[in-house]
């Protein structure tokens, strides 16, 4: 315990000394965690103008080592002595990894000219483009940050895929999203003392939100990798404007829209229930041009919608999942709650919704015995009343209205919502899911329906 105390005290004293000699004191310092491969973590304030050599000078005594026996690792790269802190793109409360070298000779052979990891991965020919200094400020990764609850600029970070330690250096730079998103693409060295993978391992890439102070190890953001910096100045295919950030669809043609048009497009197709439920990608849409194999393969991109729109997206997606899994949607108008059903039981209760009790097969109010066909549905209740003459008359009334109701409503073939037919047109548009269907055929409305029984 006393050791740790001395240790921290030492660091503080060291920092103090360095700041007192600097003209740019504490108000400009960055609070950084330094994690050592021995397991200790230190909190230090670093002057952004310092270089890595200065950092090593502070850290080395705490590791019981000389400054040149220490290496500093950040985002998958060992940092050179001459690198200035402010060029490292460290955010407040970022973590640097300090490793005490066991064998100096290994280091000598491994020493490479280390540059910082590029902050962007783009495809092939854009790599050279990105190395131009003037593009650096415009090139970012974009993430969905759940802490900020918004799309934000993200930072690519690297750790050991096995022990999750950040004391990990990569053998090669990632060159594409494939390298970053798929496991075991980029190899490297793990410097963590007790790593089960030993020295050689695979890099695991992840993202942090650059716009809030890091809240610890699990503060990870989802990459929105279809958002790109529009360095090629491609106009949006919908509004034709050239925007800085664009949405690039996964089709071979890589069609581009601006973010605003992406939102308009997604909401439009969502309201029309034109999204599809894909087994591997989830509830999604394809390129607006209708290209083949262009489904958006990461549904977090729909987080670009507003909160309300995203809630609608989730609701619709859940409904589709339930229908696909053999469940039903509550047929009560205005409810539509998705219900997972037991196929052995025909009685369904809308438990989490309106409480309606209905028949699994005909979606009418629950009944005992066979379902009556839609056209002549007479409920058992009505038949029981017929014994009393006064009631018999009423029963006929009930029966008549009952029949009338049955005949003028049919369930939408897509979502099963009871839809009322008004007028003589057979072309039905579901009020709930906007599905166009034919009253006669009870399937999707077609030109054939138009030609043979449009009216009647």
């Amino acid at each position: 315990m006393a050791d740790i105390f001395n240790f921290i005290f030492g660091v503080v004293r060291n920092i103090f000394r360095m700041f007192s000699s600097s003209r740019n004191p504490l108000n400009n310092s960055l609070n950084i965690f330094i994690k050592c491969n021995t397991g200790n973590t230190l909190t230090v304030g670093l002057d952004p103008k310092w270089d890595i050599k200065d950092v090593k000078n502070i850290i080395a005594p705490k590791l019981g080592a000389n400054p040149d026996e220490v290496k500093i690792i950040f985002a998958g790269k060992e940092l050179d002595d001459s690198i200035i802190i402010e060029d490292c793109d460290l955010g407040e409360q970022s973590t640097l990894h300090a490793v005490k070298l066991k064998d100096l000779s290994i280091r000598a052979t491994k020493q490479k000219k280390c540059s910082l990891l590029r902050e962007t991965v783009e495809d092939e020919d854009e790599i050279t483009l990105l190395q131009e200094k003037n593009n650096r400020d415009k090139s970012h990764f974009y993430v969905y940050c759940s802490v900020c609850a918004a799309m934000k600029i993200g930072k690519l970070r690297i750790r050991c895929s096995k022990c999750k330690s950040g004391a990990f250096t990569v053998d090669t730079d990632p060159k594409s999203w494939n390298d970053v998103l798929k496991p075991n693409k980029i190899s490297g060295h793990c410097e963590q003392n007790d790593c089960p993978d030993g020295v050689f391992g695979w890099a695991q890439f992840y993202f942090r939100c650059a716009e809030h102070i890091c809240q610890g190890e699990n503060d990870i953001a989802v990459p929105l990798y279809l958002l790109k910096n529009n360095l090629r100045k491609i106009p949006c295919l919908a509004c034709t404007e050239i925007k800085d950030i664009v949405f690039v669809f996964t089709c071979r043609e890589a069609h581009v829209t601006c973010l605003e048009c992406f939102r308009v497009y997604a909401v439009l197709r969502l309201r029309e229930r034109q999204f599809v439920l894909d087994d591997s990608f989830g509830y999604t849409i394809s390129c607006p041009v209708g290209c083949e194999n262009s489904l958006i393969d990461e549904c977090h991109h729909f987080k670009l919608l507003t909160k309300e729109q995203y809630e609608m997206y989730q609701k619709f997606a859940t409904e589709e999942y339930i229908l696909k899994a053999g469940g039903v949607l509550c047929p009560q108008p205005g409810c539509g709650e998705g219900i997972i059903v037991d196929l052995k039981c025909d009685k369904i209760v809308c438990v989490n919704g309106c409480g309606y009790v209905f028949c699994r097969k005909c979606l009418q109010g629950y009944h005992i015995g066979e379902c009556n066909s839609v056209d002549n549905n007479i409920s058992i209740d009505n038949i029981q009343h017929v014994t009393d003459p006064a009631k018999a008359l009423q029963a006929r009334w009930d029966e008549a209205t009952n029949v009338a109701i049955r005949v003028t409503t049919k369930p939408c073939p897509k979502c099963r919502t009871a839809t009322e037919r008004s007028g003589g047109c057979m072309h039905m548009i579901c009020t709930r899911c906007s599905f166009h269907w034919c009253w006669v055929c009870q399937i999707e409305w077609s030109r054939d329906c138009m030609g043979t029984h449009w009216f009647g």
Binding site: C236, L237, A238, C239, T240, E241, H255, C258, E260, C261, V264, Y265, L268, R269, P288, V289, G290, R447, M450, G451, T452
Partner: protein, 134 residues
Amino acid sequence: MASPSPSERRLQKELSSLMKDPPPGVSVDANAVYQHLNLWNVHMKGADGTLYQGEDFQLQFRFSSKYPFDSPEVTFVGDNIPIHPHVYSNGHICLSILTDDWSPALSVQSVCLSIISMLSSCKEKASTLSIEKH
């Protein structure tokens, strides 16, 4: 005034490009469009050397707020509706790019070009389609 929607921005751009660089025989009634950006009247001349040479037609483009993700509604209007197998007497045009094959990468310009080529390729002024055959 609220900033224009993507759909309005797109229509404004298309309007100026159509005025600057119209397909042959096509002109747009810009003054009317300025009043209603979502309703365009486009004049089209029957191309020389075709069955429609010397004829004047009027097309009406109606754009919903879903444009360009959904197609515009395009019909022939006025008293001269071209006699063509894919044009109904009420002005409705049977052209796949106006329904199933629409893509936001198309434009008023490309629709006009398709209609011109549809008219130009006609060899015989046949009667219009019946609705069943559509």
